[in-house]
């Protein structure tokens, strides 16, 4: 096992910034009061909560009282879908989403389908982009919600959110977006994009785990998902995770302030990674859109090899990545996203996602590509599919 650590799985989670941890600590040990109490001791906690809310409102271009803190991105997604289905059932029971959403959306939709809600799962093209005509054609008089992710977590494709928002508005349908991957990575203004609800999470932007948010536009009548106390304007019960929310605020503040410069640097390194991989490793392909993608995301498929083997060998070289292979998904099917963009199973099994951060260096990328070349070659030497291909047998021709 290597002593090196090259962390290229920032789409899974990120390292918390030191400044963020420093900002959080006092709210554990000094300002630990419950923000719902009346005494002056808890005022610091209350102010910190308001301050984080103001930061989020500033980033999204909304009002502070439209920001609700939750426990995670998945909670926000669950809340948006289930509470909309409940609150708008007099209008209809139809939701439109896509085949490439995160499981927090997809599994919630499946649950809703068991409870009388009809769901349309839109296709995506080979790059992972939603077809706007198909979206508009799917709208029915009973459609109450369109939920389409801002950017895909696996292949990084950024959806045409502004156009989707305009279609939703034109038809009087609410629009929710899961922006867990995109928040603070790309500029988002909820008014310009006609977004009615948005989910985000702290740990994807160098903040702590266990805290998320939901933006809910004023006038959207969804109710509480978590019942109990009167926190979050009676819409999300549970004692506020003040240190977490402070950390989220601090992380978002830094991420938003540094966005242009930080993502430009990440994108440059990411492009360098893509260029080296695609030119130096034969039978490799890029998954997702070349330009309409998150700045830190790269996703490749390597023909004739399987993703879990690749991940273990990368791990032995000290490199953390992720794969959409069946063996890493816990089922026998490879990633639903890679299948939705039309990849055959055997190519989806050989996928690798590398996601960069502001801390990634050119040396990290060079080391990673050098190891990757060796590992892919080693696994191909072991692969009966490669053997058949070399002997001119059953290998897949073209497209790679």
């Amino acid at each position: 096992m290597s002593n090196k650590l090259i962390y290229l799985d920032n789409a899974a989670t990120t390292r918390v910034r030191e400044e963020v941890v420093a900002a959080m600590i006092p709210y554990y040990t000094q300002e630990y009061g419950n923000a719902s109490t009346v005494y002056s001791f808890a005022q610091g906690a209350k102010q910190a909560l308001d301050h984080s809310r103001d930061i989020m409102a500033g980033i999204l271009g909304c009002k502070s009282n439209e920001i609700y803190f939750t426990g995670c991105g998945s909670e926000s997604d669950n809340w948006a879908l289930k509470a909309t289905a409940e609150a708008y059932k007099a209008k209809g029971n139809h939701i439109i989403t896509t085949k490439i959403e995160h499981h927090a959306i997809l599994h919630t939709c499946e649950w809703l389908e068991k409870n009388g809600v009809e769901v349309t799962y839109l296709d995506v093209d080979e790059f992972g982009l939603v077809d706007l005509q198909q979206l508009e054609a799917a709208i029915r008089p009973t459609t109450i919600l369109i939920s389409i992710m801002f950017a895909n977590n696996e292949i990084g494709t950024i959806e045409p959110i502004k156009e989707i928002g305009a279609i939703a508005k034109k038809h009087g349908v609410l629009f929710h977006t899961d922006a867990v991957q995109a928040f603070c990575q790309v500029p988002i203004n909820v008014d310009e994009l006609n977004i009615d609800m948005l989910s985000a999470s702290a740990h994807k932007l160098n903040g702590p785990k266990g805290v998320g948010l939901m933006y809910i536009r004023k006038g959207v009548k969804i109710r509480s998902f978590m019942h109990g106390g009167a926190q979050e304007r009676k819409r999300r019960a549970g004692t506020e995770n003040i240190p977490g929310i402070v950390g989220f605020g601090k992380a978002a503040e830094i991420a938003a302030a540094t966005m242009a410069e930080r993502t430009a640097k990440e994108q440059e390194l990411r492009d360098y990674l893509m260029e080296r991989v695609l030119s130096e490793i034969p039978y490799s392909r890029l998954n997702g859109h070349r330009t309409k993608r998150l700045p830190g995301n790269a996703n490749f498929s390597f023909q004739f090899i399987e993703g879990e083997s690749l991940l273990i060998m990368l791990d032995m070289a000290g490199i953390c990545g992720s794969s959409g292979s069946a063996c890493t998904s816990g089922s026998l099917d490879p990633s639903h996203v890679l299948l939705a963009i039309g990849l055959p199973h055997e190519i989806a099994h050989g996928s690798l996602r590398l996601s960069l951060s502001h801390e990634t260096t050119k040396e990290d990328i060079d080391y990673t590509v050098d190891r990757l070349k060796e590992i892919v070659a080693k696994l191909r030497d072991m692969s009966p599919l490669y053997e058949d291909f070399i002997k001119g047998g059953k290998g897949r021709k073209g497209g790679m």
Binding site: F304, I305, E306, E308, S309, I312, M316, S325, A326, C327, G330, S331, L332, D333, P334, H345, E346, H349, D381, M382, S383, P384, L385, Y386, E387
Partner: protein, 145 residues
């Protein structure tokens, strides 16, 4: 997640490769499920396996079970090779995670497929050997949770 033995066989797989004009060759699994295993056997006139090679497309457990299976059948008679069951392979590797047990089944199937090829070519009967299924992966059922 994996035992030390699994990791050892994954990192340093034994008997990777091909055998030209093999006495028996078998390929099982399918790319759709992400596992393909191919075993080559070189069997002498006394029905002793004097060489065995494998190629595998699959996860860490699939590579390790292939490697271990080749070690277990090396030097055995074809009849003795029938005792190399999926359980024997998994035990020799100090166990596999439950979700990976199907990989050891694949190793057993690959050996049986290669033995079947040998038996068919030589008009022999190996006790207990049945015609192999080619796509065992298709029959796996997804766990519900």
């Amino acid at each position: 997640m994996y035992s030390e033995k699994v990791m050892d066989h994954f990192q340093n797989p034994r008997n990777v490769g091909e055998i030209e004009n093999a006495s028996g060759m078998g390929t099982v699994g399918n790319a759709k499920c992400g596992d393909i295993m191919r075993i080559y056997l070189d069997i002498d006139e006394n029905q002793i396996i004097r060489d065995v090679k494998f190629k595998t497309f699959g996860c860490g457990a699939a590579v390790a079970t292939s490697s271990m299976a080749t070690e277990l059948v090396m030097g055995k008679t074809v009849q003795e090779a029938m005792t190399v069951t999926n359980k024997a392979v998994a035990e020799a590797l100090d166990g596999l995670p439950p979700v990976k047990m199907h990989c050891s089944l694949l190793a057993e199937e690959a050996i049986h497929a290669a033995l079947w090829d040998y038996a068919t070519k030589n008009n022999l009967t190996i006790e207990g050997l049945e015609k192999p299924k080619s796509d065992i992966g298709e029959e796996e059922e997804e766990e519900d949770y």
